[in-house]
């Protein structure tokens, strides 16, 4: 974390624990959060290694090509998790799909956190007219009809930008309202502390007061919020893809895989097509939420563990 990077250069004669070091110790002691972290890292590594792993697990290199001769085969030695209705290997699609789902979730979260933090901290710090203006804009964004906007933008931008980035941008640009509100309220509370007044009185510029004094003290909230957001934005991607407005159909994602399983005969008789993506989505979301809870406990100075 930033504090450690900044102080790493100077030698410390005595072991001194920064608030971050205390939080890290607490987090490492939280079993559920640690198991979840290991699981999530494993999922990320597996999906990142998809091009190397897939050929060993299933010998079909092309994940998008339809193969009619291999439709809906149950799991066997050639296809560890079987094939879907179009004859594509489920295991391979699961690995590649994870890349897309996690990429969409992470990128959208990044956009949301950056936008939300900037808007929220500026509104909270300056207050007055700036605050009113930014918060009314936030309300506007929060109340925007999400689905309609996604559908319209998808149609307009189809072919201009890669469909995947349209989705990321749309999710990101429409979801920062909540973070902005939380950051603003946190900044408002933190601003009352005399150290902010002290920073102003020693001639620190407003930008520096926000970045060096306020943000480090609300960062714990932002971190917890962003993990929970990460989980919910993966769900958003899944849901949109299931409805057909998300990731382009030819690109595999966990949501797209589920979307193929909306027929009764697949749901009842061919669980290998929809069970793997459903299970991996559930497990990933759960583990991210556990990490979020663990961070919340670790970063809260009042919780003792």
């Amino acid at each position: 974390m930033t504090t450690n990077a900044a102080t790493g250069a100077v030698k410390r004669p005595e072991k001194s624990s920064s608030p971050w070091a205390i939080a890290r110790r607490k987090f490492l002691k939280n079993k559920m959060a640690m198991i979840s972290t290991v699981f999530l890292i494993l999922v990320i590594i597996l999906t990142l290694l998809a091009p190397f792993l897939a050929p060993y697990l299933s010998p079909i290199p092309d994940i998008t090509k339809v193969n009619i001769s291999k439709m809906s085969i149950a799991p066997n030695g050639d296809h560890l998790l079987g094939t879907d209705k179009s004859g594509r290997d489920v295991m391979t699609r699961l690995l590649y799909g994870g890349r897309i789902s996690l990429l969409v979730g992470a990128s959208a979260t990044l956009i949301v956190v950056v936008l939300g933090t900037i808007v929220g901290s500026v509104a909270g710090f300056f207050g007055g007219a700036v605050d009113s203006l930014l918060m009314r804009f936030t309300d506007f964004v929060l109340n925007f009809p999400f689905l309609v906007f996604v559908i319209v933008l998808n149609t307009i931008l189809f072919g201009i930008i890669d469909g995947l980035w349209v989705l990321i941008l749309v999710i990101g640009l429409l979801s920062w309202g909540g973070v902005a509100r939380i950051v603003r309220s946190k900044v408002l509370a933190e601003k009352e502390n005399e150290y902010v007044l002290a920073a102003i009185s020693i001639g620190t510029s407003p930008a520096k007061v926000i970045i060096k004094h306020l943000l480090p003290n609300v960062l714990s909230t932002i971190i917890v919020q962003s993990t929970l957001l990460f989980a919910s934005l993966i769900v958003a991607e899944t849901g949109l893809s299931y409805l057909g407005f998300g990731v382009p159909q030819e690109t595999p994602s966990w949501g797209n895989m589920l979307a193929f399983a909306n027929e009764p005969d697949v749901l009842q008789g061919k669980p290998w097509i929809w069970m793997p993506p459903a299970l991996i989505i559930t497990a990933t979301i759960l583990s991210i939420n556990f990490i979020g809870e663990g961070l919340k406990d670790a970063l809260n100075p009042k919780s003792q563990r």
Binding site: A6, P13, E14, S18, N193, Y195, I200, I202, P216
Partner: protein, 335 residues
């Protein structure tokens, strides 16, 4: 606590220049109400006060909670926007300056805050807290800056190793020393100490007060010392201003104020100082009632609602602060 008068050691009064002049300073907080958030009234936290502080001296500001002492201090430092009046610091009017000009001017006046727990950023290393003001104004060699900050730490009575620690590892008194070091870092001319010891244990209070006095001599500092504790102010100040409900009711030298308080409010305050000698019995003036709301102050003299010597005229006319004896100003119809 020693009660040695600081003026005895100082230079003669005539040589000194005015460092800070406050003229008719007003700070009002607007009260918004109604559907369109119109301004329906004002909380008159500081209502037309004037005083001057000479270079190298300490002015004490006393008064009960909520009388506007802290607001006065913060307004002078331009941390709160003044509603009216003038603040002249070292010959320059700083009442209306803003932006980078104000930020530059801040080098010369610093503040020591009341709450040592809230006034230090918990996420910053002590070394960073103290070097931040310097970094705001000049580029200095990293090593040199670190050495300088460490020397400051030692000067305020902390070990050099405190540089690498975080605020939560220190006690209240030590934290206040860190706050003092931060205020000293820019070598300011004026330090406003806003109840610097009110949050500390009595045993630690005197250490911090003596540190402040030593630093004043060493760095030729001027203090505006805000407190609600009269014995603390007596120990620290050359002149003392007594505030009541946003108004300055009496300004006098330390000696005059304690030996011969003129304003009924000051008399009541001084009668409340505990007497360490049990054989000496003092007559205690007990004030009745509460402080009126600064949003709706009484007409005339702000003190007339609780004044034991109130007359009819008191509720009609606000007495101005006038010099009734050399160096002794009081705002009361009795004089």
């Amino acid at each position: 606590m020693t009660t040695k008068d600081f003026t005895e050691q100082g230079k003669p009064q005539q040589e000194r220049k005015n460092l800070l002049e406050v003229k008719n300073l007003k700070t009002y907080y607007p009260i918004h109400g109604g559907f369109f958030k119109r301004v329906v009234g004002n909380v008159k936290a500081v209502d037309d006060i004037s005083f001057t502080i000479k270079k190298g001296e300490t002015m004490g500001l006393v008064g009960e909670s909520g009388c506007g002492k802290s607001t006065t201090g913060r307004t002078i430092l331009r941390l709160i926007k003044p509603t009216g009046g003038q603040i002249i610091f070292d010959g320059e009017d700083i009442t209306r300056i803003g932006g980078s000009k104000l930020r530059k001017a801040r080098q010369d006046f610093q503040m020591v805050f009341q709450d040592p727990y809230a006034s230090l950023n918990p996420m910053q290393m002590v070394g960073d807290i103290i070097s931040e003001p310097i970094k705001n104004f000049e580029r200095r060699d990293k090593k040199e800056l670190e050495e300088f900050v460490k020397s400051l730490l030692v000067r305020v009575g902390l070990p050099e190793t405190a540089y690498y620690k975080y605020a939560h590892e220190f006690s209240g008194g030590q934290r206040q020393r860190i706050g003092i070091a931060r205020a000293l870092a820019l070598n300011p001319k004026l330090i406003i100490a806003d109840e610097p010891v009110s949050a500390l244990d009595v045993s630690v209070q005197s250490q911090v007060l003596n540190l402040l006095k030593d630093l004043q001599k060493e760095f030729d500092l001027t203090y505006l010392f805000i407190a609600h504790d009269l014995s603390v102010v007596k120990h620290m100040s050359d002149t003392i201003g007594v505030m009541y409900l946003g108004n300055l009711v009496e300004v006098a030298s330390n000696k005059d104020l304690y030996s011969e308080p003129l304003h009924p409010y000051t008399q009541a305050l001084i009668s409340a100082i505990p007497e360490p000698d049990p054989k000496l019995r003092k007559e205690r003036i007990v004030l009745q009632g509460d402080v009126p709301s600064p949003a709706n102050p009484p007409t005339g003299c702000p003190f007339h609602t609780r004044c034991p010597m109130a007359q009819e005229i008191c509720s009609q006319e606000k007495p101005p602060l006038k010099e009734v004896r050399p160096g002794h100003h009081v705002a009361c119809v009795l004089y």
